[in-house]
Symmetry: C2
Amino acid sequence: MPVDLTLAPKEKRAAGDVCCEPIALPDVDVAQAEQLSKLAKALGDPIRLQIVDVLRSHAGEVCVCELVPLFDVSQPTLSHHLRKLREAGIVDSVKRGLWSYYFVKPEPLKELNSWLS
Amino acid sequence: MPVDLTLAPKEKRAAGDVCCEPIALPDVDVAQAEQLSKLAKALGDPIRLQIVDVLRSHAGEVCVCELVPLFDVSQPTLSHHLRKLREAGIVDSVKRGLWSYYFVKPEPLKELNSWLS
DNA sequence: GTGTTAGATCGACAGGCATCTATGTAAAAG
DNA sequence: CTTTTACATAGATGCCTGTCGATCTAACAC
């Protein structure tokens, strides 16, 4: 995480030969890399990735009570995954009555998508 | 990881009211979700994401000796990150003489990219 | 041969994470 | 009021991960 991405000046090699050409500078800065890796990390669990997939394929909001039976983990575990996704900014939720409805926020996934392209 | 994504039949609610419409089926199956989340997990560290970024912005292969000074972690730690990326299939390497050259394999990132789109 | 260099691997340690059960909370039902 | 329901939170546990210094290995230089 504590990264300095300025290219260090190439020093002459002792034997005088070069291992490779000077590399290109990275396109992302450290803050961007941290944001993007935070998104990737949130998707780095198969259950969370499937949650996002389900929420995306459903047009609007999905209630937790519909999500839980899709995965064979306990309700608190699913709640934990939803929190991780919420903390990463990938999903958000609203509460109506007893039910919580989750939905995907499109912007963060778009960020990741455009870095990947 | 042990996930059954077939949609459970909706049971009638005790009070007779419905929290939401039946959700759409996920587009990815479990194996796909595991593969995609494996890729995302490998990108879920800022240093690894920057490594990929550097390798991508450089057209060809990049030698480890060029990578190490870009990040303020030790050489073994960088080697560990490169191994993680290699295990995820995101990068590969060739050895020539004393030097190891790493490069991005485009297909896995394309997989992730097309899921995100 | 010896020495050096690039990089991978090993072993240890601290912190993080996925999972569970148990409990808390807030809203609705009776 | 009490009970039930939906979900979140707390606490515990075992595994995984990022980091380091030390060491190993293979290839070159001499």
